[in-house]
């Protein structure tokens, strides 16, 4: 389990994280959500020792995480930054990663590269934005680490590759359970994957709950605009959308007495996120 205890991170005049407390348990898929500048990447960088906290401590399985090689070897993080020299070939980086991560599966990496159409003979600098993301995804999935951290994993990926990534992630997770932390803005796409949601706002944890609980926090009703408006009057509405004569309303609270003319579905995570993080 990764524990973040009272962590504050300052960058000169900016406080990115403020006395943050959060834990990431074993063998679960987490969604780390937040608006731009909320502190998601900073948190991931702290959890991988890429940044040093200004205050507070981080632990993995009870051991201090900062500057601890043994513990850091259990984590692999795919970050937005490419940490490899542009002049090095992808296949060479696979070999080097196997040196640092003994559980790195070279055959699996090669198979994934083939599935994604990644040419491993190319140099990192020759890859397009999308393929650079794919290269980092392949490295992370094949790393064999117990904690896989993804910071904007689908940056520059087309819909087909995004779908393939989600499928491969689930396949890897079911074959070899591990802790996955997905930090992304594409909430709708990962909503069905994640088991636990952590929302950060202004460097603080705003919400830290299982996805199941979040779905039960509210519901969405749809139907004819007049009927939805009439039924929703006086209720705690998070937001609404109109398409022609039809209306969709996201409501916070327990589901009860919904007329047969309206359809009720579980609460949309993205709508909740928008509502919670709007200033």
């Amino acid at each position: 389990m990764i524990e973040v205890r009272n962590v504050t991170k300052n960058f000169r005049n900016v406080t990115a994280l403020r006395s943050l407390n959060v834990s990431f348990g074993e063998n679960r898929i987490y969604g780390l959500l937040g608006r731009n500048g909320a502190g998601k990447s900073t948190l991931l960088n702290l959890m991988t020792n890429r940044l040093i906290p200004t205050e507070g401590f981080l632990y993995l399985d009870g051991f201090p995480l900062t500057e601890n090689d043994r513990v850091l070897g259990k984590i692999f993080c795919m970050s937005e930054n490419t940490l490899y020299e542009p002049s090095v070939r992808v296949e060479r980086i696979f070999k080097w990663t196997a040196m640092f991560y003994p559980a790195f599966d070279t055959a699996y990496a090669a198979a994934l590269a083939e599935k994604f159409g990644l040419d491993t003979r190319k140099k990192v600098g020759q890859l397009s934005t999308g393929y650079r993301s794919i290269f980092k995804l392949v490295l992370t999935l094949a790393s064999g680490a117990e904690y896989l951290l993804f910071d904007e994993p689908v940056l520059g990926l087309d819909a087909n590759h995004r779908q393939l990534f989600y499928e491969e992630l689930l396949a890897r997770y079911s074959k070899r359970p591990c802790t996955v932390i997905l930090s992304t803005h594409l909430i709708e796409e990962i909503a069905s994957l994640i088991e636990h949601v952590v929302i950060i706002k202004d460097g603080r944890i705003l919400l830290d709950r299982p996805a199941e609980e979040i779905h039960n926090m509210g519901f969405t009703v749809s139907g004819k605009k007049d009927e939805v408006e009439k039924w929703c009057a006086g209720k705690n509405i998070l937001g609404s959308q109109e398409i022609g004569g039809l209306m969709l309303a996201h409501i916070l609270g327990r589901r009860s007495d919904i007329p047969a003319s309206l359809t009720a579905t579980p609460l949309d995570l993205q709508q909740l996120f928008i509502h919670l993080t709007n200033s």
């Binding site: 960058f11 900016v14 990115a16 994280l17 937040g34 608006r35 731009n36 500048g37 909320a38 502190g39 998601k40 990447s41 900073t42 960088n45 991988t48 020792n49 890429r50 940044l51 040093i52 500057e67 601890n68 090689d69 850091l72 070897g73 259990k74 984590i75 692999f76 970050s79 930054n81 940490l83 490899y84 020299e85 090095v88 080097w96 990663t97 040196m99 640092f100 991560y101 680490a145 460097g203």
Partner: protein, 232 residues
């Protein structure tokens, strides 16, 4: 600790550069030795070992950011990254000193045109160049680390002030007609001591290396990932 892995990685990634450097220096030394031997006039020494010092300074400069990013990407701590650099610097300094002293022996195949740069035993020369290489590699590492940690304004300021101050000091020293005052007497005395023997010079460069390794550790111990956004 992943010192072995980091050391091997540095070795593998730097190997082509070292091979190319040694090949170029060997080829140049051989060609120039032949040219001087054929002409029959003038004396020649390639000073390959001295050229090696500049090469290792560049290697030291290149070692910081690249290695640190590899360390960050592969779950390696700053401490391990620094210790692996220390090992690699010692290894490559010794290797370069040994190979370059050997290369410097090529011109001696033409005794009529050969003039040695140092008259000490090869073993002593290797030790001296090892310390010199080590010192400059540590200096390069520190410079790269310091620049890595600085923001843009600090980089510009340092880039202007340090060369300007060095040039001003040099001009002032060169144009001072008056004899050196007692307050600066220790400096020439120290220089005299350093030049007295190759062993003294080697000791000086060892101290120089120790100083810049210490400063190098100071810039490493809290270095973070670059291109970092303030948050998000």
């Amino acid at each position: 600790m992943k010192i072995k892995q980091m050391f091997l990685w540095q070795l593998k990634s730097s190997l082509p550069a070292f091979i190319i450097f040694f090949c170029i220096i060997t080829a140049l030394t051989t060609v120039l030795t032949i040219v001087f031997a054929r002409n029959g006039n003038g004396t020649f020494n390639m000073a390959a070992a001295s050229i090696g010092v500049f090469f290792l300074f560049v290697v030291g400069c290149a070692s910081f950011a690249e290695n640190l990013h590899i360390a960050f990407g592969n779950g390696v701590s700053r401490r391990t990254h620094f210790l692996s650099f220390l090992l690699f610097a010692a290894f490559s300094s010794a290797l370069t000193a040994f190979v370059c002293v050997l290369i410097d022996m090529i011109p001696s195949l033409s005794p009529s045109t050969y003039i040695p740069l140092l008259t000490d035993t090869p073993g002593m020369q290797i030790f001296f160049y090892f310390t010199l290489n080590f010192g400059f590699m540590a200096f390069g590492y520190f410079l790269a680390g310091a620049y890595y940690r600085m923001n843009k304004a600090a980089k510009i300021t340092v880039s202007i002030i340090i060369p300007a101050a060095a040039i001003t000091c040099f001009v002032l020293i060169m144009n001072t007609a008056a004899p050196v005052g007692p307050e600066v007497q220790p400096l020439p005395l120290f220089l005299q001591w350093m030049l007295a023997s190759i062993m003294n010079a080697a000791l000086f460069w060892l101290l120089f290396a120790a100083l810049f390794l210490f400063l190098g550790w100071l810039v490493t111990r809290r270095a973070g990932i670059r291109q970092q956004q303030p948050a998000g």
